[in-house]
Symmetry: C2
Subunit: 216 residues, 2 copies
């Protein structure tokens, strides 16, 4: 296995999706010798996820956050508020050019799209709120039927659980398929290793407008 | 949907598995009107999961933790230390008789088994460390090929990812299959809704001794 080492900066915000974050980071973090992971919120304080009362411990704020190699942006109901938060979007804009990879899960790609940095790139997002989410990136080449999409340094996934499959795909791209299979097996996880596998594109109409979902 | 409401007490400890906890709680917490979730550690301080530097925010310690209806015990590499921690095992012993349900994920069932409270009950656990883990419950009726097992108020699951399937099974038992299917669909999660589905029982030999895995 190559020894390439990455620091991952996970960007959290109120009403983030708990599985988006911790499912993906758990898979990355299985390679303990290869990934260091830090969490960051705007103020450095913990923010509650959309799961009642449950939160991650936070390491940094936007001011004191060190450089990292991978920017990780999760989705969640809170996306609707951060789409209007210029400080939050500016943090993404400042960091993207400095990192080697950007990984987004679920509606996290909508936040990235809103900055304009996905323009002309292929990407995917959550299937339940597809129409609403893709409206924030009119110049993005959205791929509806995809578990995850890779375009250059940008990895974007479909909703929630898709983040785990995408991260295993990322591990496979960097360290080889055998390593990704091992991570999945030891987590007793049935990895959907085909990025084109996406039954949810047909099952979910994509017509929900997330801005109508109450905050927690 | 019935209006039965539960408070869930999630019992965390150093080197817990991040997905065991947050995958399962995310599925439960999708029913926001039905579940309140609290986190507890021995001292009330946060403990780092086995994923480098990543932790959950903690609400209570063993002394000030209020009553709850469901005891949730995750697994993880840290199980090896808690098996020797009498204060931790005593907390489980004191709480189990007072709760309506006990849900364990992965090696969490080994901690429960060590207390003797699973004696004579059917249960399952992680497939990678099967032999080592089941040795702590010689009087438990261990079921090797199972995604999850229900015996009375005890729900036990196989390793890591199996927690999500078990929790969806729990939701199905309490609120109906339709509700569980909806939670899974909206999380774009392919729920393995058959508790007998378990390819990992054959793929993982169960011969790893977790006590030899270094702590983080």
């Amino acid at each position: 296995m190559p020894k390439e080492f990455f620091t991952v900066g996970a960007l959290l915000y109120k009403d983030y999706d708990l599985l988006d974050v911790n499912g993906s980071l758990r898979m990355l973090g299985s390679l303990k010798a290869n990934f260091n992971i830090i969490t960051v919120t705007q103020t450095g304080e913990h923010v509650t996820s959309y799961t009642p009362q449950i939160a991650n411990y936070i390491n940094y704020n936007f001011e004191n956050c060190p450089d990292f190699d991978i920017l990780f942006i999760p989705g969640g109901v809170g996306t609707k508020d951060e789409l209007k938060n210029s400080v939050f979007l500016d943090f993404i804009k400042q960091r993207v050019p400095k990192v080697k990879y950007v990984l987004t899960v679920c509606t996290g790609s909508g936040l990235l799209a809103k900055t304009g940095l996905l323009d002309g790139k292929k990407a995917t997002t959550n299937k339940l709120v597809w129409n609403w989410m893709t409206s924030f990136g009119p110049n993005v080449e959205w791929v509806r039927k995809a578990r995850w999409v890779v375009d250059g340094k940008f990895y974007t996934s479909s909703g929630v659980s898709a983040g785990m499959d995408m991260v295993l795909g990322f591990i496979s791209d960097i360290y080889g398929k055998e390593e990704a299979d091992k991570v999945a097996l030891e987590a007793e996880y049935q990895w959907h290793d085909d990025p084109h596998w996406d039954p949810f594109a047909d099952k979910l109409p994509g017509t929900v407008d997330m801005s109508t979902i109450p905050s927690s």
